[in-house]
Assembly symmetry: C2
Homo-oligomer: 420 residues x 2
């Protein structure tokens, strides 16, 4: 059977089964997630055995250690997977929420309520925990799931989806709402990305190259998650006692993630006194520095190389940072507009007007005022589960929780009104 | 200059100029719209003269009458254009609205506020009024506009954009926020649809074929507006005194638009008594009928042909309708799921449980309960201006007003908090 026929068939089956999800109450969806969490724990030995098969293949294929670590499941990680499913089950039901409600002059009752998308495809890489995390978030938000993980995790994903489906057999929800898309060859990804009308939404989760490929190729609506070249701007009215800790935290607390800062912008009035202190603090924290000409002139004995265009565009993901001197909030915003990725931008200032100006000129998912860029995170923002951080403007922007996995319907209730 | 270079240049200019929009207050944006409305009236003779050039070319090209009518501007229509711009100026400012607000345990203040997309491209057909309507809605929502109308309206669009830009010169908003994309050849459309990162959103407005082409070709996020194969289901618990007027209104009040009904579904318990009455009412209203086998058996002397798969999939846009007998709410929903376009579906019932079941199973932008499908309309729903009806699930669903032209930003305000 062709990959297209296969994937379309899975989507049709999932959509029909999703009617059991739409008919289910929030409590019933929540109970299903707890049944899945129970099953994951009860069958952990099967899951570990299947994961070991993947690990053996991966080691034989000489896959690098960081990928091996992402692929690995341990009893502790399985407990973590079950725990996160339970956490999702405890979140408020995102469905049936009335977003707008009014009565029209003709007496019609108008309500906009949240509803599921329908069938959502996930395209993701190594980490098998995504299989349970995504299924939990999608089921809790009333969506059927087409899960296309990587072939390296094929055995782990197969048993995890089996565990999910077996657990659903004990609930009011059809096991067919979760479908594993075979990962044998890439044709199934292409088929998923072209299943327009069969699949309502595709979410890529993984490397920048995976996300780029999915967004470029997809004819199904996608939510782009992506790179963060985040900036910290120290304004002339910054409280300098807060500045260094925020800069160090933004850059070094977890350099590998998208909300870590890559470039420090300092107002020229602070160049002489503060810039050297900031450079030394970064250097002492083990950060490799690149600066513009004005910064280099202030570095003294601190090692720093001249930053080029490429440096300012780079998401290092490591202990490496650019530094530039700017003349104003507008100048800082212009730099950010030129080199940023619209993810997270921070301003450190005690001047409300400057903060407002920076907010108005920053075209990004999150603006930080006097705090670390690291707070652009669903967990930190109190969303509970996070399926990713949207780095685009349509539908959802920033960390995406259960609410972002819903769309809306207008319910227009009349008593025989007709349009004249 | 290549079309790509040209369009990217217009987008860059518009984005830079949009900073004047972001810095402007709602009152200033509103005043700009009124300045545009004044200018449209003051320069109506120029506008009519330019429109006459388009009409002369169109007549020479033997363009059909309906297209000629859509292209035509008259003093009355120009007054209407100015009036609708003023109406938009009177709507509440959609920007800076706080959608979510909380204080995190660490004391951080978290706010999600509405902000503009940035640069929005419109691809549309003949009607020159769209040039002013779209500019008004996009400016009021803080967005720069790249307007790509059809070549048939080139002279009209040229003068209208000139009038807009001259009017903006008297305001705090840069005239460069509105750019006319040359309509000489299609390359400029292709360039617009591929201006990823330069253009934030593209909205197609016009025929189904235009919309399909834009959505398929675009690598810029698009909001799909589209076809409506809308259904009216008469449930076994319907108040039949309301049924016929709603059916007739849904089908005949304006058959050419997307929220007109194309198929009538009748519960089998009403087949004998009510179906013949409905068929006669539709026939008397001049509606050409197509029915399933069960309906044909009830039609008596009323002319009706056997409906095939194609009939049930067709958006007639004329006085033509399909009729089918169904056995239950679920059966009606299954028919709708098979043939509908997720636009607007109506149920006529006095039974709340059946209405709820129909709502839960209807995967569409708007569900009507005991009222006409014709109410899926921004004006009718009280949105004021409408830039189109979204027939997709991402970002906006159903009629789109000013709010749909905004995205969001998280504003995270701290007092030096860092992440541990």
């Amino acid at each position: 059977m062709s990959a297209t026929k296969l994937v379309n068939g899975l989507a049709d089956t999932a959509r029909l089964a999703a009617r059991t999800l739409h008919a289910a109450t929030g409590a019933e969806r929540s109970a299903a997630l707890n049944a899945i969490a129970d099953a994951v724990l009860a069958r952990s030995s099967e899951i570990l055995a299947a994961n070991e098969e993947d690990m053996v293949r991966a080691r034989a294929a000489k896959i690098n250690d960081s990928l091996l670590d992402r692929l690995l499941l341990t009893p502790a990680r399985i407990e973590g997977i079950a725990k996160s499913a339970r956490e999702v089950s405890n979140l408020p039901d995102p469905l049936g929420i009335t977003l707008r409600h009014s009565t029209l002059p003709n007496g019609i009752d108008l309500q906009q309520i949240t509803v599921p998308f329908g069938v959502i495809g996930m395209v993701y890489e190594a980490r098998p925990n995504v299989t349970i995390d995504a299924a939990a978030i999608l089921l809790m938000s009333g969506n059927a799931a087409l899960l296309r993980g990587s072939s390296s995790a094929a055995s782990s994903n197969q048993i995890l989806v089996t565990v999910i489906r077996d657990a659903l057999k004990t609930t009011k929800i059809s096991p067919e709402v979760v479908q594993l898309v075979p990962s044998g060859d890439r044709d199934t990804v292409t088929a998923l990305l072209n299943a327009r009308g069969k699949v309502d939404l595709v979410i890529p989760r993984g490397s920048a190259s995976l996300i780029r490929a999915v967004v470029d190729e997809s004819r199904v609506p996608t939510i782009e998650t992506g790179a963060g070249v985040c900036h910290v701007y120290v304004d002339e009215f910054a409280d300098l006692s807060k500045a260094v800790p925020i800069i160090i935290n933004s850059k070094t607390q977890r350099p590998s993630v998208c909300n870590a800062a890559e470039t420090l912008l300092i107002h020229e009035s602070l160049a002489k006194d503060f810039a050297p202190i900031a450079l030394k603090a970064l250097h002492d924290a083990g950060v490799v520095l690149h600066g513009d000409a004005r910064t280099l002139a202030l570095a003294g004995s601190i090692p720093i190389t001249l930053a080029n265009e490429e440096n300012f565009c780079t998401e290092y993901g490591t202990l490496e940072m650019n530094v530039a001197i700017v003349d104003s909030v507008d100048d800082a915003s212009a730099h950010i507009a030129k080199y940023g990725t619209k993810h997270t931008e921070a301003i450190l200032t005690e001047n409300k007007a400057n903060a407002q100006r920076f907010i108005a000129l920053s075209d990004c998912a999150a603006v930080m005022v006097n705090t670390s860029t690291r707070f652009t995170d669903g967990g930190q923002m109190g969303f509970g589960a996070e399926i990713g951080i949207s780095n685009q403007k349509l539908h959802a922007r920033g960390p995406m929780g259960l609410e972002a996995m819903t769309t809306t319907t207008w319910i227009v209730t009349g008593d025989g009104q007709i349009r004249s």
